[in-house]
């Protein structure tokens, strides 16, 4: 039921955004900026860069909302992919990719969970807690792909895991997370 209601609201929100309604944009920012900022920050691991990318992502969302098609998926997925792509572009442009991506991360995939970060929502938990129930190999895949912005092929290359295995592990991890995430099948 709430799913339907949520979808209705989303369609309305999108329609308003397409009319360049600024109130809708405020609503969008207030409701989604923290979720997107979390995703961006985990890719970049740098507050200044993450703030820049969040700004650019919302600017792009505002400019490109006309190209978003509700039939092709949820608004959030679209916004998340914009944010992730901008984050990765930023990472590459700063040429910190190699250092950050392979060295730090493989040593400690949770190193982004710094104490001084303020979590917005009550139910907001750290990546570590969220992935607690997964197998080690599944944790690695989710961390790299979802939180670090690797493509599945990149994970396969850099960690020497067959692409098919990467895909299966990601699928299994998502399945195993459904409970914690409250996503019903």
């Amino acid at each position: 039921m709430s799913q339907v209601a949520g979808r209705m609201q989303q369609d309305e929100l999108v329609a308003l955004l397409k009319q360049k309604d600024k109130t809708a944009m405020h609503y969008l920012y207030d409701n989604y900026s923290a979720a997107l900022y979390g995703a961006i920050f985990r890719v970049l691991d740098d507050e200044k860069l993450a703030e820049e990318v969040l700004h650019d992502a919302f600017m792009k969302i505002w400019d490109k909302i006309d190209t978003y098609d509700t039939k092709k998926g949820r608004l959030f997925t679209w916004m998340l992919n914009i944010s992730r792509n901008l984050s990765i572009d930023k990472l590459r442009s700063k040429e910190i990719k190699k250092v950050k991506k392979t060295d730090d991360i493989s040593n400690n995939v949770y190193n982004v969970e710094r104490d001084n970060l303020i979590y917005q929502q009550e139910e907001s938990i750290g990546v570590k807690e969220l992935l607690n129930g997964l197998r080690e190999e599944e944790k690695l895949i989710v961390n790299l792909i979802y939180f670090k912005g690797f493509t599945q092929s990149e994970v396969s290359d850099e960690y020497d895991i067959p692409l098919g295995t990467v895909k299966t592990r990601l699928r299994m991890a998502l399945r195993n997370l459904r409970n914690v995430l409250g996503v019903e099948k």
Binding site: M25, F58, R74, R84, S153, P162, K167, T168
Partner: protein
């Protein structure tokens, strides 16, 4: 089209992650329109990613929002550059032409530069997609190649006259059951080809037995799979082969009541 296999191939995760090419995206969209299961699975994956983002949200500093809306306002207030009437100057027409020409040149070259930059960006993106696709094709090719090798190997055994084929027919437990043994009594190699055996729960496994002088000898456990399964070697003298259902890992002695298929070796 096997929808279960399509869903479990991982293509829908790649779709939601935005890793697919435009063409592949279009295919997924079409599949989703055709099959409600595909659509439902995409929604679950999207929702999972969304929930993950919310569960790990971090509040950005307020300054980002301020700057964002300032920039949106500025952008809006000058949708197109204002046209300002210029005072007619005293400059000679000659200089006017030069000035006009250089302005046009500047405009044209900026447009071109922007255009090329855009094309370069697009090409870069397309290249990434192509590389990813290429890897996927190579991966598929390898898999198919391995499968082909396995099939050729299997065919070699089936066509090898040193191997006897023994049909194991279903017992009352499994009237539809059927499996073949390929047994080379001199090299003692045993291969199993499952034709029809039902799926078992994860706690159970099938076990193959050779009956030698009336006594069952373990020939290995297996899960029903396509192609030939290599089983334990069995020395000559086996009079029959049979399959029972045993706890995972197999048993020392067969649980005869669970016998699924059985076949006697024809004496030549």
């Amino acid at each position: 089209m096997n929808i279960e296999a399509y869903i479990s191939s991982g293509i829908l995760e790649s779709y939601v992650l935005g890793e697919l090419s435009e063409k592949e995206n279009q295919e997924v969209v079409e599949m989703a329109a055709k099959y409600p299961e595909v659509k439902a699975e995409i929604e679950i994956i999207e929702e999972s990613f969304e929930q993950m983002a919310f569960k790990t949200a971090i509040k950005p500093p307020a300054s980002v929002k301020e700057r964002l809306f300032q920039d949106i306002d500025t952008k809006e207030s000058k949708p197109e550059a204002k046209v300002v009437a210029m005072e007619s100057s005293e400059a000679s027409p000659y200089w006017r032409y030069i000035a006009a020409a250089s302005v046009s040149l500047a405009v044209i070259s900026s447009v071109l530069a922007f255009n090329y930059w855009n094309k370069w960006q697009d090409t870069q993106g397309e290249l990434d997609i192509l590389i990813a696709q290429n890897e996927r094709v190579a991966e598929d090719y390898n898999q198919v190649n391995q499968q082909l090798e396995k099939i050729e190997e299997d065919l070699g055994i089936i066509n090898n006259s040193s191997f006897d084929r023994i049909a194991m027919k279903g017992t009352d437990n499994a009237p539809e059951g059927l499996a073949y043994i390929y047994w080379n009594s001199s090299s003692e190699e045993v291969y199993l080809s499952v034709q029809n055996l039902k799926e078992l729960t994860t706690e159970k496994q099938y076990q193959l037995w050779a009956i030698i002088d009336g006594k069952p000898v373990d020939a290995g456990v297996f899960d029903p799979d396509t192609g030939l399964l290599k089983m334990k070697n069995i020395a000559g003298g086996a009079g029959a082969f049979a399959v029972t259902v045993e706890p995972k890992g197999g048993s020392e002695n067969p649980t005869l009541e669970t016998m699924q298929v059985m076949g006697a070796v024809e004496k030549s």
